[in-house]
């Protein structure tokens, strides 16, 4: 039986089409979660898709954060359910404080759409467990505000805690510094994606859901979506996720 994965639809979301396609290819049953609904329709994982929720006016992701559905998403995350935010979805999660850091305007002050290379930093998480190796993974970025920022202490803590999940890498496989072309937006320490302290909520700027078929230029993103689907299935069956920490441990850390 295929597992139900929610795709949150805000006014202005536009990669919902891609998310639905990607999840379908990855073997899940996508379920649209309208921004005004509080009920999560029994989904076992949630994907916040890309786009421009509320036009990204003011600041990407900020208005969407106040939608009724986001209260339910936060509660679902609090219960340990797997949540993945992609691009605008990452921005919404960051604005909502569900993942650490902020996404600033791209350092080059222009929207950037091109293929990038990612390296997965950990392969034992709900979002990377199905990856064959660390990478490099080829997939597109498409955003104007994707420069990952947190203060140095926070960054150190994230790294020490294993919460940096993906980084931009150059052709040599090395992490791309903020001023290198392989780092499309100037993100600090090449960070493309992170997760929360418990480990069940993650966000990334690149688009694995658009890189799920070789005809689209790459299927390297499939491993990330499959990981989410496997995690959803596990969560549906056991109410827990492997590779995450119990809430008590998080509170203590």
């Amino acid at each position: 039986m295929s597992v139900r994965v929610g795709v949150v639809l805000f006014p202005g979301s536009n990669r919902d089409i891609d998310a639905i396609n990607g999840l379908t290819v990855a073997g899940a049953e996508p379920v649209i979660l309208w921004h005004e609904q509080a009920d999560l329709d029994g989904v076992s994982a949630i994907l916040l898709p890309g786009g421009f929720a509320y036009g990204d006016y003011l600041r990407a992701g900020v208005i969407a954060r106040f939608s009724p559905v986001m209260r339910s998403v936060a509660a679902f995350a609090g219960r340990g359910g797997p949540v993945l935010g992609i691009c605008n979805g990452f921005q919404v999660l960051a604005e909502a404080g569900l993942v650490p850091g902020a996404l600033l305007r791209n350092r080059g002050l222009r929207f950037v759409c091109r293929q990038v290379s990612l390296r997965a930093e950990h392969l034992d998480t709900p979002f990377t467990r199905e990856l064959a190796g660390a990478g490099p993974l080829r997939m597109p970025v498409a955003h104007g505000e994707g420069c990952y920022f947190a203060d140095d202490a926070t960054l150190d803590a994230l790294e020490a805690d294993g919460r940096v999940l993906w980084r931009y890498v150059g052709e040599d496989g090395e992490v791309a510094a903020p001023d290198e072309r392989a780092n499309p937006n100037g993100s600090l320490r090449g960070i493309a994606g992170v997760r929360n302290a418990a480990g069940n909520v993650a966000g990334l700027m690149p688009h694995p859901e658009t890189a799920v078929e070789s005809i689209l230029g790459s299927d390297d993103g499939l491993g990330i979506l499959r990981s989410l689907v496997v995690s959803a299935r596990e969560y549906a069956q056991t109410g827990e996720l492997s590779g995450v920490r119990a809430a008590a441990a998080v509170a203590a850390s």
């Binding site: 891609d18 036009g55 950037v112 104007g144």
Partner: protein, 785 residues
Amino acid sequence: MTVDAPPLHRALGLADVELDAIRDRLGRDPNDLELAMFSVMWSEHCSYKSSRPLLRTLPTTGDDVVAGVGEQAGVIAIGDGLAVAFKIESHNHPSAVEPYQGAATGVGGILRDVFAMGARPIAVLDALRFGDPSDARTRHLVDGVVRGVGGYGNCVGVPTVGGELVFDPSYQGNPLVNVMAIGLLEDGKLTRASADGPGNLVVLYGSATGRDGIGGASVLASATFGTQDPSKRPAVQVGDPFAEKLLIEATLELIAKGLVVSIQDLGAAGVTCAVSETADRAGTGVLVDLDAIPRREPGLEPFEVMISESQERMVAIVEPGRWEAVRAVCQRWDLPVAVIGRVTEEPDIVVLTADGAGALDTDGRPVEAARELARIPARALASEAIVFERESRQPARRRAAPAPGAPLEPVDALPLRGQDPGAVLLALLGSPNLSSRHPVYEQYDSNVQSNTVAAPGRGAAVLRIKGTTKALVAATDGNAPVGAIDPWLGAAWSVAEAARNVSITGARPLGVTNCLNYGDPTRPEAFWQLAEGVRGLGDACRALGVPVTGGNVSLYNEAPGSAIDPTPEIGIVGLLADVATLVGPAFTGDDHAIVLVGEAAAGLAGSEYERLAGAAPEDGPPALDLERERRLQAFIREAIARGLVGSCQDVSGGGLAVAVAEMAIWGGTGARLRLPVGDSPAVALFGESPSRLVVETLPRHAPALELLARHHGLPVETVGTTGGARLMIELTGGRGATGAAEERGGSIADALDVPVADLRHAWEHGLNRALGWDAPWAGAAEGAR
């Protein structure tokens, strides 16, 4: 009115004969509101008053054409219960005034034309033309226009998958911004803009109405831009792509649920245009309740409400019983919605007000307090707008094309003398018009919706159609330099090139949309260019068997003292039956055969080589044989279908050398060619004569490929092999020789010999350098806004 004040009709841009024609149609004098409505509807932009007689000559029919010229967008059936809708439109003048918003609202407008027909927009292409890239004003325009196209398209979630960017001095005072949109619709969802059914409601939904673009249609499209009358400065329209995204979803939902009789977008001339055109198509009229139109600000005059060009609005014709359901859909998408009128049998547009209290009762009858502000027959505003037979005069020609078969003159000997042809190739690849456009298209989301098989950068865009094996292939092309010399040739050439770009992927061209960018039609020379352009467009489409399904005419592209070169912009969509057979333009491997189909013709005029090396005054552009072009395209489609083609590129800007260099750069492998030089190495290497292809094939397939080409009556020769890290082209057997060889006294031409890495470097960095975008402060001003 004081004696000195110009009469109102002239202030609105209407000529005296037009006022007479209006009196004629009304049987009385128009009042001021009526005059304002006529002035926007009879603008060139809405009425096509100069071009309509020409456009009637175009071939517009085809077996699969579901909707064509006269509709908001052309629609062609593609099987599997699907159809494709597409259309191109200009936003030149607004973009010259305010590049970001001009371009952004251009994208918004053309998308509305497509989804108003019931199609989900799946792609945008932008064809852009500017003056000198080193000029500060040009840079400001490029930066703003590109940000505007991206800012809008990215937000609405429609990928921008192709287009053009050309720099030429003729656009210095008058940039061109043409945008094409493509949509996909299911059979049975086609929705026409026709106000059928007297008694039905006229529903306005989308953004509220403000003072945006008042008079923009008439002032911008009908007056020469740049005259210094500040009162003609239109209010700039600001686009709201977020509102457009909601409008797309709401409109498609209304259509999917079968809630509307008809839909039309609001563009130029606003409510006036939408109600008069929809009524005219149905032979009905509309009672407009002015009071019911939602406003963004207080104090709007009736004429402002009627002609405002506020963006992101649509009009739907709705049966009364469906109104509540329509309202619910709009409210779900958070869009203001209101009943603003009723369809009537009496074929007049009647504007009513009860001083803000609502002029129509719930049954659609005028309330007692209602006053009639305007009454005009719908057809007088729309299909029976005035038409002018403009005077046409051929200017003394600057240069003529050499007659077909004329001996090849070495007109190029001078520029090339003493030059290593490799250096010329590097200069061409790094030039503003031929270098990689990635600094521009990387600012566009090109893969949202997960359909993009071939993204911008390498020839035509390819979009797979989910749930089928099919793909759509799309391109825009417009050749102005050739058209400046011979406007017939420029237009026919543009069609040939656009169609060729589709055919070389293996796809069959379905239909053509076009944007005719020309000068002031009241100048006989400019009108002649337009007439010749339309003739060339029609001839080429007939010869290639591709119908014209729509388009747009943009006239008065003149800055004080200069007109643009005539620029017929062709947008084309083709269908690939099986996306697995798609052929790209990048070399696919080493030791493959390189086959040249077609042969070089004389003439370097209008080429990028000429732009670089200077013009030879006695030279003309090469000829175009439309019948040969048809056979060439039939040949390549057949060759691809039979699996004989590894990669294919047509010879266009920069000539054969640039075509092969691109294939090498993109494929990451070099090549070695021996090229019959004829009499002119420059013509052989850099000439842009049409109807030629470079085809890569497996060595064992080369004989079959050659045979097939001969079957189609095409000259063909295997000229080389792929592989290695360099591009080497030996020139053989000609009288002329490249300069370097001559200087050594040799009679055998030099080889062109350049590492592919150098070619790539020149090609990748050229545009950033030309625009100054490689400087650390690049784009600062615009970016900081």
